[in-house]
């Protein structure tokens, strides 16, 4: 409270002090300049030049893309390594079972006992692969069938397929494994539950180019790994992608495929959407072909809160900070890049997407805030300009008015030093004129002066000494220093002087002194006789 008073007092004091016109003009121009800056700022904001949201979004996307790509590459590498190890293990088992009995892979056809013996040997290895790999299933298929005379024999092949029953979260330790394909006696012996869509053998049509696989010459297994596209697992509701690694028989010919399964659900759970400041971020793993991101052949992470479906084909438009992916009315902003993973559709890419609608909403909010800020700034500076110009012009007008009506007081009241000087000049001139005119005072005034001068003659020498100080322009507080007397002594003299002169205050005394001075008759007060 005290501080506030102090500030008010100071501002009042500053207000009273004259400021030069130049400084006022400077202030005025500065506020004008500020207003212009505010307008430019506003225009830039409206046109979006200032907005770096696009760049920020691009950086956010790039960061997440790098993360996702690293994650996907590591994931795929570990799956490939495990599947290759599985393939090599199967080859060794085949060799020991077949060559031990003097047989070839051809002899597996129509030989249920031999197939069962093989599957018994391979089950534990497949089970281990499933348990140790970050995947949703594992399978092996041999190019042989139990009944070549069946009408399905041409696209039926014996093998094992283990899957997790109801995949519900990442980390498969407590998941139930079910028996999806294979000889049921083995499942019973190992107390594995049969899948409710169990089948004895594989439909080889599931594997695109299965027959071609069986004909190819394979150099290194690592170069032959390939993912299938996404397909619906027969008789189920689940979409999966299979990693295919060829199995080599003792003679080095391809005699089957093995690998792991990734279900859409698994992918969904392992790539949860991320909240960015521009909206939810979705991870997509899919091939890019002909300027389109083929979601129908790939997999997407969790995409809740967006309209992304797994059947979309998103056309890509490249941009400065990010690309735009559109499908029908749905648009996404995002980035994608190629991974090292091979699939039947060529290389797979990882993409990170944000719905354009949430990005646009976020960008608009930011822009609105900036526009509001600059509007406020503009309003404030315009207000300041108006205020300052008023303050600037008003005293000039008032002074002009006063000069015109000859009411100049001569007191520095305009607050502008140049004007004050002008006023002082004008008033001194008008005073001079008044003095010239004065020579003939009105009779009653003359009488008043004479009687005051007469009364002044009754003052004692000591009192006259004190009054002399006043005439010389000294303040009452200065007199003790000059006359070596106490302030009480001065006051005592004062009251005597007032009484003798018939006045009641120092102001009145000063008024008389001033009048006598203006009339050039001061000596009438100071002279003793």
């Amino acid at each position: 409270m005290g501080r506030l008073k102090e500030i008010l007092r100071l501002t009042a004091q500053i207000k009273k002090q004259s400021v030069s016109m130049q400084r006022r003009l400077l202030l005025y121009w500065l506020s004008m300049l500020l207003a212009i800056v505010a307008v430019v700022f506003l225009i830039l904001n409206i046109t979006g030049v200032f907005s770096n949201d696009a760049q920020k979004a691009g950086e956010t996307l790039q960061l997440q893309l790098d993360n996702a790509q690293l994650q996907v590459n590591q994931h795929m590498e570990s799956l490939e390594a495990n599947s290759i190890a599985l393939s090599e293990q199967i080859s060794r088992t085949l060799e020991s079972v077949l060559t031990g009995n003097g047989l070839t892979t051809e002899d597996l056809n129509d030989n249920p006992e031999l197939l069962q013996k093989l599957q018994e040997e391979l089950l534990s290895r497949l089970y281990m692969t499933l348990r140790l790999s970050p995947c949703s299933g594992a399978y092996l298929v041999l190019d042989a069938t139990t009944n070549t005379s069946s009408d399905k024999a041409s696209h039926s092949a014996s093998g094992l397929y283990l899957r997790y029953a109801n995949f519900h979260a990442k980390g498969a330790a407590d998941q139930d494994v079910v028996f999806f394909r294979g000889i049921p006696e083995i499942a019973r012996a190992e107390q594995l539950e049969l899948h409710n869509r169990w089948n004895l053998e594989f439909d080889t049509d599931l594997f695109p180019g299965y027959d071609a696989w069986m004909q190819t010459e394979v150099g290194r297994l690592a170069d032959s790994c390939r993912w299938t596209g996404r397909f619906r697992l027969t008789d189920t509701w689940e979409d999966v992608q299979l990693l295919c690694v060829p199995i080599l028989d003792p003679s080095g010919k391809v005699c089957g495929l093995c690998g792991v399964e990734l279900s859409s659900l698994y992918c969904y759970l392992s790539h949860p959407e991320l909240n960015s400041s521009f909206g939810p971020m979705i991870t997509v793993i899919a091939p890019v072909e002909g300027g389109k991101l083929l979601l129908d052949k790939g997999m997407a992470g969790s995409a809740d809160g967006t309209f992304l479906t797994d059947a979309d084909m998103l056309s890509i438009q490249h941009g400065r900070y990010f690309n735009t992916y559109s499908c029908g009315g749905d648009r996404y902003i995002g980035l994608h890049s190629q991974t090292d993973v091979n699939s039947e559709n060529g290389g797979l890419s990882v993409a990170v997407l944000i719905p354009e609608s949430t990005y646009a909403a976020c960008r608009d909010t930011n822009r609105t805030v900036l526009i509001l800020c600059s509007l406020l700034l503009l309003a404030a500076t315009v207000g300041l300009s108006v205020f300052l110009s008023k303050r600037f012009v008003q005293p000039i007008l008032q002074t002009l008015q006063a000069i015109r009506s000859e009411e100049v007081t001569g007191e520095g009241e305009t607050g502008i030093s140049e004007l004050d000087e002008l006023v002082a000049f004008v008033s001194s001139r008008s005073n001079a004129k008044a003095l010239q005119r004065e020579n003939a005072l009105p009779p009653d005034m003359e009488e008043l002066f004479r009687s005051f001068a007469d009364r002044a003659k009754t003052l004692s020498t000591a009192e006259r000494t004190i009054m002399k100080y006043y005439i010389d322009g000294h303040e009452i507080t200065e007199i003790p220093e000059l006359a070596f007397i106490s302030i009480h002594t001065v006051k005592k003299h004062n009251s005597n002087i007032y009484q003798k002169l018939g006045i009641s205050s120092r102001d009145e005394l000063m008024l008389y002194i001033d009048l006598f001075r203006r009339l050039g008759r001061l000596n009438e007060l100071t002279d003793t006789l």
Partner: protein, 124 residues
């Protein structure tokens, strides 16, 4: 007047209180200034460094108190233009031509009224 009073001012300050006095050359009454306490009165400095600070602070407040005392005293004391002694308002007479002390007035047969007739306004 301030210089005269300042020169005559007797310092009767203690470690905790600042106080100054002047004796009227005529009546001998001793006027004492209003007492002000040292802001750190009764506080023991915790270190030598603080002691140095307190000492400086004491000097400063002492000087301020002295200035106040001078201001107070100049309300009360006058210098007689005849004998040049510094006397209180009670012993200083308002005369026709020249104000002077009671003693000089009686010596020169001058008439006058004392500035302060009673003791009421004076702090004795």
């Amino acid at each position: 007047m301030r210089e005269i009073v300042k020169a005559l001012l007797k310092d009767c300050s203690t470690r905790d209180v600042f106080c100054f006095s002047i004796r009227c050359a005529e009546c001998g009454q001793v006027w004492s200034s209003r007492q002000t306490r040292f802001s750190k009165a009764g506080v023991h400095p915790k270190s030598e460094g603080k002691q140095v600070i307190f000492d400086a602070l004491y000097q400063k407040e002492h000087e301020l108190a002295k200035n106040d005392a001078v201001r107070e005293a100049t309300d009360i004391f006058n210098r007689c233009p005849i004998c040049r002694r510094t006397v209180c308002n009670r012993c200083f007479l308002i005369c026709e031509d020249l104000d002077m002390c009671v003693h000089c007035a009686s010596q020169l047969n001058e008439q006058g009224a004392p500035v302060t007739p009673s003791l009421v306004e004076m702090v004795v």
